[in-house]
């Protein structure tokens, strides 16, 4: 597994993806072309079922396209095995989910530490980095709390800290404000903007125009196809 290239972060061409339920096939992406340059802040917008989360999953190496070429952070994802993909996710991307996806029985600190531990970072160093991140995001005092003891906004901040602990080149966020109140959503967007300001590429999935307005470019999807790309209005 090589280093994560930051020159051309995302280069997708002709991506197709369909889900199957028995004999029935549900197309999710129908030939998507998308390029994201290093340091961009891109929002993927579209109604439910438009394929935006699927596209994010493919870019994050969580799923594989049926067809098409996909190069992310210098890696040809369709040709990689599961182990290489896991290492790619660990080193090159940080993912923030709508439903936080924290491990409920672990405290916030351990949740943040996990990707670093999986990378082989010594536990002491992982702990120091995790604590620093939590402090930076304003929730250092909640390090010992377990996710069920936190509010939605606090959980999402823990998830962002987890996504950032391995200092990825690309930050993927799937409806990161979808499960929090408006005030918390603002803080979360501020944090994503801060990550972008540090030089990270950010790819955000949302159906909220106000959220998309924080991005430098908005990509509109509908029925698995890109309708338009433009700077936010």
């Amino acid at each position: 597994m090589g280093v994560c290239s930051t020159e051309f972060v995302v280069d997708a061409r002709g991506l197709t993806k369909a889900y199957r339920d028995g004999e029935i096939r549900y197309p999710a992406l129908r030939g998507v072309d998308l390029q994201v340059a290093a340091g961009e802040f891109v929002a993927l917008m579209g109604p439910s079922g438009s394929g935006k989360s699927t596209l994010l999953h493919l870019i994050g190496g969580l799923d594989r396209p049926d067809d098409g070429a996909l190069r992310v952070a210098g890696h040809d994802l369709p040709g990689m095995g599961e182990t290489a993909l896991a290492i790619f996710r660990r080193r090159c991307v940080g993912i923030v989910f709508q439903y936080f996806n924290l491990l409920h029985h672990l405290d916030a600190l351990t949740n943040v530490m996990l990707p670093a531990l999986l990378s082989g970072t010594p536990a002491r160093e992982a702990r120091t980095r995790a604590l620093a991140l939590l402090e930076r995001l304003g929730i250092g005092h909640l390090a010992a709390k377990r996710p069920p003891q936190l509010s939605g906004g606090e959980r999402q901040r823990v998830a962002i800290a987890r996504a950032l602990i391995n200092e990825p080149a690309l930050l993927l966020a799937d409806e990161p404000t979808g499960s929090v109140d408006r005030a918390a959503a603002g803080r979360i967007l501020d944090m994503l903007a801060a990550a972008h300001a540090e030089g990270r590429t950010v790819l955000l999935v949302t159906h909220d125009p106000d959220v998309a307005a924080r991005a430098g470019r908005v990509v509109q999807l509908r029925d698995g196809k890109i309708l338009a790309q433009a700077a936010p209005a």
Binding site: I87, R90, I95, N101, P115, L117, L118, S119, T121
Partner: protein, 819 residues
């Protein structure tokens, strides 16, 4: 929902219990249908438990029942005596037969112990058999008054009728014998009917030719039939094995045979007391009769069966425990998977109790079906096994068929299994049933958090995934380890006893028995053969101990025996004349301690011996003692050594020395190999324990696979998260397998310790039950340690397939809509 009970029924709406039951069945089906694999496992383990428990009960009940059936169907006597040649033998027999307790004479026949020579694959083998002559040559009843009349009234008044059985249930020419194959010998023909157990041991079919060699000559005979006898336990536990020959043939073999007198009693249960009293009365005439009775044989069968039955029932209990643990596990998994169905059920109006009942109903039904099938299969398999393994049972099954075809046991076992299954189902369903319907529905299939252990392996941290409900695989491994360790200990002990029989008090390698030669001549032969390191002589007597109303066998030791390492269990071994050392059983039955005195009687002679101590005595289940030859000779001056127990040089080959002895003896001696040969019951028990440990290892493996599959299923959300944040398939597999290894390692250790302890306890119990005493297992520590280490590794291997499946799945497949 409790307050719902207080609500009145809706006005005008009919209520039907059947409708409620039908609704419960629908819910039960909905809950369980998605866990078919789990239910199959539940059925498998419960069926196995029922099979073993039911088979154990059948063996326990069927073995003595087989003997009792044979005894009844062949009109066998309740008590019998072997009376040696003596001028007053007829009189003594008549007195015994005239006892008011006697209902009828069942058998009077000449009997002699002869050698049977078998030519097999160019080599000759000699085995002793107890030959019964037919038709009987004596006529006890002709010299009697009352008893003969009684015999005539019940048995037909003639030997032929008597021999066919006092109850008229003629099964053969001799009461107490049942023909299993072939036919009875024709009068005056050179034919023999051989004991089926001996024939099987020697591989002799009906139609084979053998030679019988008695004191008065050899006879070539053909085996024309195979039989079972109710007068002694089956070969090889009891030897010599019986054979039936025409009386004329027996006369050629032995001109002075013993007389067998068998009687049926008004009170069959009083047979042991009758035998003791009758022997005392015969002894008053100088006739030293050997005696036997049917109650002792029933007890012997129960003792023999208790080992096998005990292991089977123990195995059934352990399987039930393992099955309960596994089923609790799988039902809990089903409950997690069925939480949505539970929530929906609650939402449409089922009470929590009804939800629990639906789960218990489903699991109970599976348990009942598996239990019924397993217990029936076990019952029938044990019947077939008993019939195949015991000539007694085979004879009974082919004859009167008195082995119970069925009774309450299979039903009880099935019921017990069903109750356990229902109880585990109910317990597992409780949590979900009382949860709020909304939460349960929102659970959408349920999820159990993954349990991580963040450890450090050298400088690098590692993540260990614990299985859900780790107690289940740990318990399953512990149970299989317990039985597996027991099997190892039993096998190791038997192997150690075979390698070094001196541990059991067997110090010699060859036994020489004289066949007409003078004792001094045998001494000279044995001393002259190269390779013989030493020997001592033994002669055996049965003496009565009137104070305890018991008879014991006494072995007189002559020659080079004092330096042998006798295994003393209490006090000390004999050192001086007038002392006796007793086997444990003899010590208990006589109620004496070292230092006490016992008065023994042999005919008119009496002696008072001091009890020196107790020692490990295998003969006659420990109901025997040892005295110095001069002590024995004081009681019976005519006694002569019967056996020479020969110890060989370390470098000597037993086969070579045996051949040299036979050559030097010129037919005047018989030589047999000595050593430790486990009794058939012990060998059977060993096979049972071995098989059982394999079965339970299988259950444990299934439990581990099921546990890991359940872990993947129930923890899929967390596993998906871990994969999403970068856990590689290798890390997942390594973490899961290491978790299983770590979870089962304590179970393996506990199981090994339990196995060692149980084997120690088991040996003590068996040792006490058999009356031998002092038997201790030989623990194969290295093997036990290797097995203890291997079991968790095997569990880790068993966990590989589901762990690999989880590793191969993508995060989005595992995480569903949440990722």
């Amino acid at each position: 929902m409790r307050e719902a009970r207080t609500l009145p029924p809706a006005a005008g709406r009919p209520r039907s219990r059947f409708a409620v039951a039908a609704a419960l069945l629908h819910l039960s089906r909905g809950l369980l249908v998605q866990s078919r694999a789990a239910l199959a496992l539940l059925g498998l383990t419960m069926g196995l438990a029922a099979l073993l428990a039911s088979a154990g009960a059948q063996v326990w009940r069927g073995t003595p029942a087989g003997y009792e059936a044979l005894h009844a169907s062949t009109g066998a006597p309740h008590a019998w005596f072997l009376l040696p040649q003596h001028p007053l033998r007829e009189t003594a027999a008549a007195v015994v037969a005239a006892d008011p307790s006697v209902a009828a004479q069942a058998i009077v026949a000449p009997v002699a112990t002869v050698s049977m020579l078998v030519e097999q694959e160019g080599a000759a083998r000699a085995v002793d058999v107890r030959a019964y002559g037919w038709p009987p040559g004596g006529a006890v009843h002709s010299t009697l008054g009352g008893a003969g009349g009684a015999a005539g009234a019940e048995g037909g008044g003639a030997f032929g009728g008597m021999g066919g059985g006092a109850d008229g249930a003629a099964n053969g020419p001799l009461a107490g014998f049942a023909l299993l194959e072939g036919r009875w010998p024709a009068a005056g023909s050179p034919e023999v009917v051989l004991d089926a157990g001996l024939a099987a041991a020697l591989g002799l079919p009906a139609g084979a030719d053998v030679r019988l060699v008695g004191r008065d000559g050899p006879v070539a005979v053909r085996i024309v039939g195979l039989a079972a006898s109710a007068l002694q336990c089956p070969y090889p536990d009891c030897a010599p094995a019986p054979a039936v020959v025409p009386a004329e043939l027996l006369a050629q073999l032995s001109a002075a045979p013993h007389m067998l007198l068998g009687v049926r009693l008004h009170d069959p249960q009083a047979a042991p007391a009758f035998v003791f009293a009758a022997r005392r009365r015969a002894a008053a005439y100088g006739v030293l009769a050997e005696g036997g009775n049917w109650r002792d044989l029933v007890a012997q069968q129960q003792l023999t069966a208790s080992l096998s039955a005990g292991f089977l029932v123990l195995g059934g209990g352990l399987s039930l425990l393992a099955g309960a643990a596994v089923s609790a596990h799988v039902v809990a998994a089903a409950a997690v998977a069925g939480r949505r169905v539970m929530g929906l059920g609650r939402a449409v109006g089922f009470t929590p109790r009804q939800v629990v009942a639906a789960f218990a109903l489903g699991c109970g039904a599976v348990g009942a079906a598996a239990g019924a099938a397993g217990s029936r299969v076990g019952w029938l398999a044990a019947r077939a096994w008993l019939a195949a393994g015991s000539a007694w049972t085979a004879a009974a099954a082919g004859g009167a068929g008195a082995v119970p075809a069925s009774d309450w046991t299979p039903g009880f076992v099935a019921l017990a299994v069903a109750v356990v299954a229902a109880a585990t189902g109910a317990r597992a369903a409780r949590g979900g049933a009382w949860a709020s319907p909304g939460a349960a529905v929102a659970g959408a299939g349920g999820s159990v958090p993954v349990r991580l252990n963040l450890g450090r392996l050298g400088a690098r941290p590692f993540i260990l995934l614990w299985p859900v409900r780790p107690l289940v695989p740990a318990l399953a491994v512990a149970i299989s380890m317990t039985v597996g360790t027991g099997a190892l200990v039993l096998a190791g002990t038997l192997a150690a006893f075979s390698r070094d029989p001196a541990q059991l008090g067997v110090f010699h390698q060859l036994t020489v028995e004289r066949n007409g030669l003078d004792p001094s001549a045998v001494d000279r032969i044995v001393e002259a053969v190269p390779g013989v390191a030493g020997f001592h002589r033994e002669g055996w007597l049965r003496v009565d101990v009137p104070e305890a109303a018991e008879s014991i066998i006494v072995r007189g030791l002559d020659g080079d025996w004092r330096e042998l390492p006798w295994r003393v269990l209490a006090g000390r071994f004999i050192q001086e004349p007038g002392e006796i050392a007793l086997g444990t059983s003899a010590m208990e039955r006589l109620g004496v301690q070292p230092g006490d005195h016992v008065e023994v009687v042999l005919g008119q002679r009496r002696a008072r011996w001091r009890v020196a101590g107790a020692y490990l005595e295998l003969a006659n289940y420990g109901l025997a003692g040892a005295v110095a030859w001069e002590t024995l000779a004081d009681l019976q001056p005519a006694a002569q050594p019967a056996a020479w127990l020969v110890r060989l040089d370390r470098a000597a080959d037993a086969g070579t020395v045996r051949a040299l002895l036979l050559e030097a003896g010129g037919g005047g001696i018989a030589v047999s190999a000595a050593g430790f040969e486990p009794p058939a019951a012990v060998r059977t028990a060993g096979r049972l324990v071995g098989g059982l440990s394999l079965l339970l290892a299988g259950v444990a493996a299934v439990a581990v696979v099921q546990g890991m599959a359940a872990a993947v299923r129930e923890q899929r959300r967390d596993i998906a998260i871990l994969k999403a944040i970068g856990m590689t398939p290798g890390q997942l597999v390594a973490g899961a397998v290491t978790g299983v290894v770590a979870a089962t390692a304590p179970g393996s250790g506990v199981g090994a310790v339990a196995g060692v302890l149980l084997s120690e306890i088991g040996f003590r119990i068996a040792s006490a039950m058999t009356g031998i005493g002092g038997l201790a297992p030989v623990q194969p520590w290295a093997l036990v340690a290797a097995l203890t280490a291997a079991a968790p590794l095997a569990a880790g291997l068993a966990a590989l397939p589901p762990a690999l499946a989880a590793a191969r799945a993508r995060a989005t497949e595992l995480g569903g809509e949440e990722i």
